[in-house]
């Protein structure tokens, strides 16, 4: 089979359907959203074509600036915590026998696929007064009476790290699974303790992977939408919540679109950084 450039309609035909679907149902909606962000809002929930930047100016206000910095700070905290726990965990995971590895992977994939609604419901139940973990503490004599731990910033953080953890492990998994075991063995032969070998050989060797993963998890956490509503208080609402609120409940599509465009730019910049960080290690 010679691989050459396709010629004529017959050879191009297979790609027509996917190309058409992706252009019509992704490129066009995406472009439309960018266009709407500079449209003018008409009272009553509609908008008309125009070129105004009022929507962009509006989120430069203190309120939206606050939401933005909260969203970014929260995502950063979640990313650092998730990678901090997931990296040593994944490092152990790839050394397990194949069967045990597969059981863990199925478990992690199942948690990862859970709807944010289900994670939010499960965590709010776990942290509730009637059905929560504090009942266990009372039974153990650690607490006088059960109390509600949600909504709170801690609950939100726990839920987000829970949601991000399987994602983090699965992003780290290929890099760690392909890690050359001889490097570490060499360090061990030369007298390093396992812990020392981990911190002096494995971690520095994968520094770029760690940076790239942290950025990916950051973008992932930035997208969380339901957990802030289910586990946090209104002051913990993120940009995603606000965008939806403007689009659906305030019927202000232009403003929602402007915030979304901003979120796209931040995310794309971060994904670009992550790719760059990941690539440098491959060539090194």
């Amino acid at each position: 089979m010679i691989r050459r450039a396709p010629r004529g309609l017959a050879e191009h035909a297979p790609i027509l359907f996917p190309a058409l679907m992706l252009v019509v149902f992704f490129v066009i909606p995406f472009s439309l959203m960018i266009a709407v962000s500079v449209f003018r809002r008409v009272p009553g929930g509609f908008y008309e074509p125009d070129l105004v930047f009022a929507n962009y100016e509006r989120f430069l206000t203190a309120f939206f600036g606050g939401v933005m910095s909260f969203s970014l700070g929260l995502a950063a905290l979640v990313a650092v915590l998730s990678v901090g726990i997931a990296f040593p965990f994944t490092y152990r995971l790839v050394k397990l026998p194949r069967g045990a590895q597969i059981r863990w992977l199925v478990f992690l994939l199942s948690i990862l696929s859970l709807s944010e609604v289900i994670i939010g419901f499960a965590w709010s139940t776990l942290l509730s007064r009637t059905a929560g973990i504090t009942n266990l503490f009372v039974a153990l004599g650690l607490m006088a009476e059960p109390q509600s731990l949600s909504p709170s910033f801690g609950a939100l953080l726990a839920g987000l790290v829970y949601q991000a953890f399987p994602y983090t492990v699965l992003v780290l998994y290929p890099a760690l699974a392909r890690l050359d075991p001889y490097l570490e063995e060499a360090a061990r032969t030369l007298g390093s303790s396992p812990l020392r070998a981990f911190f002096t050989v494995v971690v520095p060797g994968l520094r770029n992977t760690i940076v790239a993963t942290t950025i990916m998890v950051f973008v992932f956490a930035l997208g969380s939408y339901l957990l802030p509503q289910l586990l946090g208080r209104p002051q913990h609402w993120t940009l995603s919540v606000l965008i939806t609120d403007q689009a659906i409940y305030q019927s202000n599509m232009p403003f929602a679109a402007a915030m979304a465009v901003f979120l796209v730019l931040v995310s794309l910049a971060l994904v670009g950084l992550a790719l760059l960080a990941g690539r440098r290690e491959e060539t090194a």
Binding site: R3, F17, V106, S113, G120, I133, Y225, A260
Partner: protein, 266 residues
């Protein structure tokens, strides 16, 4: 020895934390009374029965299953020709479509959701039930695209050359040589898209949330009007279904390889 014990202890703790919310929900779902208490008081499977007998819950369940099946099938229909084309021909420009297929999955979902909302509103189809199928298919096309790229990458080109030398045309090669080799990857791509569509909230909500209730939307709406153990029962059913689907993928396919680790004999 101490290190080993410590390692298993930490792994056990992580497993416990990951399972804890689900275990509590499972406990709540068998409560006898209509309240969310844990440990459960009494034992009853009535809430599981209600998922199937209550028209609201049953409707949402059926909607979710239909949407997930159709959108996963459409996602595979979009991904398969694209992945095949990229593997069969030397056409660097076609990579642009691959990147397009990956993008919705990397960006925060609210962006894709808002894009769909503006699009369906503009073409006057906002709220039509089928729009959620198309939206989910495009949103999750990344998953079959990734598994299929791996699948085609694993096809030994010498088989294909042998078949071509014996006079098989492209179509015959695809049907008799390539298809049997990539079938597990087609199935796992479908399964990934199916499970994620089943659990997806924000795109479904922004596209058809007011006319069509999928299970995640139904659960969220129910949360606002007060908790019932039925929600816990639905949650347990969903978690089980998800775990079963991934268990099947692991059973029939090479899960570590699908997730990017090299096979042992590489």
């Amino acid at each position: 020895m101490l290190m080993r014990t410590l390692n298993s202890l930490i792994a056990g703790l992580i497993a416990l934390v990951l399972a804890a919310p689900i275990l509590v929900v499972a406990g709540v779902s068998v409560n006898e009374k209509k309240s969310l208490t844990f440990p459960p008081q009494g034992f009853s499977l009535a809430w599981y029965a209600e998922v199937f007998t209550d028209p609201g819950w049953r409707g949402a369940l059926i909607t979710s299953l239909v949407v997930a099946t159709l959108s996963a099938a459409l996602a595979v229909l979009i991904a398969f020709p694209l992945a095949w084309f990229l593997w069969r021909w030397r056409a660097p420009w076609a990579r642009a479509f691959e990147v397009l297929g990956m993008t919705p999955f990397i960006l925060p979902p609210v962006i894709t959701a808002l894009g769909f909302l503006s699009f369906w509103a503009a073409v006057g189809e906002y709220g039509s039930p089928w729009t959620v199928v198309v939206s989910h298919a495009v949103f999750f096309v990344t998953l079959p695209l990734v598994t299929l790229s791996l699948g085609f990458g694993a096809v030994d080109r010498s088989y294909v050359e042998a078949a071509a030398t014996m006079g098989a045309d492209d179509r015959t090669v695809l049907r008799t040589v390539v298809m049997p080799l990539v079938r597990p990857y087609v199935i796992s791509g479908f399964a990934f898209a199916f499970v994620l569509s089943l659990n997806e909230y924000i795109v479904a909500y922004m596209v058809v949330g007011f006319t069509l209730e999928t299970l995640p939307i139904k659960i969220f709406n129910a949360l606002r009007y007060g908790y019932t153990p039925t929600m816990a029962a639905v949650t347990v059913l969903f978690v089980t279904l998800t775990a079963v689907v991934f268990g099947l993928i692991a059973w029939f396919g090479d899960l570590p390889r699908l997730l990017g680790a090299w096979a042992k004999n590489d």
